[in-house]
């Protein structure tokens, strides 16, 4: 059977709650088979975007298209989407198999077919051995698999994932993240994935939409978002530790246009024998590397450097920046400026 056209399109979609704007005139397209990540800090409206596509919230303005269908006013059940919630939303009184098959059972699919499709979906996410258990008997990671299998079982047009990894511990999160990426490659489904975790966004997303206060800041591939942040917010939000922002290039010996701020990622701050003088204020070892907090003239700067170089608070060293790694932002608007 031919796969339905699975393209999600948000056309100038807005959502207000009691006069407070959660999403503002959002324009967004998810291509067929694409995994698009909506990234942003808490309260930026990213979950609202997902809920708008799911139909759990009604758009105040604009149009939402899934394929050729205008679903703006359709009920959630008529949109043919699946959702994985942050809390997994598993029914505590049902077994894993019953949870996975819930959507099929309420649609009155034949029992034999339900069993077969549940087994298939469970095998896809490697949870076939858990089918007889209740959610209370499952670990966080296992619950997450059941929730994923439930989303897969119905073969919907679009998968909506609302921070599905945020309740897992760091190790399991990294493992599940990789599995999710493989799963997406295998089933080729259209996925809209919401997270506040930039690592998740950069590793999983084919494209990333960065949101702030309900407004789209930048839409691009992970590489574009990383290398050419559209504004100061994107530059600082994506990357850990955050990008250094200096009010001008003068302090670090760069000739920058007036009214331009300088952005430089900690890994691009070079410590050595050349450049301007800097004083070490703090050293934070993070395994093989260390974050070195510096004071350069009146500016504060963080550098990521090998941990084995002996540095201690109060040391004086020299800092240089390579122009190709320096980003310029308008001091007023925060928008990216070109090097002239």
């Amino acid at each position: 059977m031919a796969r339905p056209v699975s393209l999600v399109r948000l056309e100038r979609v807005s959502k207000e709650y009691d006069g407070v704007s959660a999403v503002r005139e959002l324009e967004l397209e998810v291509a067929d088979g694409e995994l698009l990540v909506v990234l942003g800090p808490s309260g930026c409206g990213k979950s609202t975007v997902l809920r708008l596509v799911a139909g759990l919230e009604e758009a105040t303005a604009g149009r939402i298209m899934i394929g050729e269908r205008d679903v703006t006013r359709l009920s959630p059940g008529r949109r043919n989407v699946s959702m994985v919630f942050q809390s997994y939303a598993l029914f505590p009184h049902l077994t894993a198999a019953e949870n996975i098959g819930f959507g099929l059972v309420v649609r009155e699919v034949r029992r034999a077919e339900v069993r077969e499709r549940v087994a298939r979906a469970a095998a896809l996410v490697d949870c076939a051995h858990l089918l007889a258990r209740r959610p209370a008997q499952l670990s966080g990671g296992e619950r997450q698999r059941i929730a994923l299998a439930r989303a897969l079982v119905r073969e919907p047009d679009v998968f909506l994932l609302d921070e599905p990894l945020s309740n897992l511990d760091a190790e399991l999160r990294a493992q599940t993240r990789a599995e999710l990426k493989l799963l997406h490659a295998r089933v080729g489904a259209t996925m809209l994935y919401v997270t506040h975790d930039q690592i998740e966004a950069l590793t999983l997303g084919q494209r990333i939409a960065v949101l702030r206060d309900g407004e789209l800041q930048q839409l691009g591939t992970p590489n574009q978002i990383w290398r050419e942040p559209a504004n100061r917010f994107v530059g600082r939000f994506v990357g850990s530790p955050a990008m250094n922002i200096l009010s001008s290039g003068t302090a670090v010996g760069l000739d920058t246009p007036p009214g331009a701020e300088v952005g430089i990622r900690p890994e691009h701050v070079m410590l050595g024998e050349t450049g301007v003088e800097a004083t070490v204020m703090l050293v934070e070892p993070i395994g093989s590397e260390a974050l070195v907090h510096l004071r350069v003239a009146e500016a504060a700067l963080v550098a990521r450097a090998p941990a084995d170089a002996p540095r201690s608070v109060g040391d004086t060293l020299r800092v240089s920046l390579s122009r190709e790694h320096v980003h310029l932002f308008d001091a007023g608007t925060g928008e990216r400026l070109p090097w002239s």
Partner: protein, 299 residues
Amino acid sequence: MELRDRRQLALMLAPYLLGLVALVAVPALFTFALALTEYDLIRSPRFIGLDNVRELAGDEIFHTALLNSAVFAAIAVPLRVGAALVLALLLHRRFRGAGSGRAAAVLPTVIPDVAYGLLWLWLLNPLYGPITLFLGWIGPPGKTIWGLALPQFLTHPNDARAAIILMSVFTIGEGFVLFLVARQSLPGELYELAAIEDATAWSVFRRVTLPLLAPILVLLLLRDTILSFQLNFVPALVVTDGGPPPYSTTYLPLFVYRTGFEYLRYGYASAATVLMFVLTAAAVWLQWLVLRRARFASF
């Protein structure tokens, strides 16, 4: 638990335990003892063994009271629990008027029993009671809209029994509040998921709400069964006076009350009370046997 904590716990529990022993346990033991005696408050109790139980076995008024109580429990308990559930499901959301609706659902429960009984005495009056007048007004002359004769709540045996059940269906405040709180504590995401899966309202009720509320439902069914042997006492006394004749609304509590306080047969009344206790326990045990097979949600 440390000694200090134990002492503190004992101190805090003491007033309740003292009351429980003095007002419940000791009188209960007395009742068990009195059940084996003949006692009229004037002469000293005389031990008669199981004579009271034998007499109860052949007492037709007791049989009628027993049957009345069983029928009342069988009809009133599901109606009361069902009404509390339906009202809670209707009123758990926030909307204009929800607060007033909730207050109206709880209000009859907080009205003193006798005042509530007197109110119904007026509502059910065959001449000027609003219920009878309304039924007569909407139907053909002298009949209801279903073509049946107008109910005679205070004079016809079955109508009177129906009236007592009707009265009990409005005093469901506690059950309503429990269901309301339980429903409001269910995670909203489960319902959102059901909406995304295109589940119908009935399907959501049957497959999500009801199983998740099952622990509360069982609790209320058991509690209401116990309560049903007591809560018809005031209505039967104030509204129907145990009648219409011969004993249409004489339930076990009224039978015990009359036997003890009007006929001064304390030993016999105690035996009936013990039997009532045994029957209540048996009813609860039977329900438990059936209900424990059901699968309950575990949060």
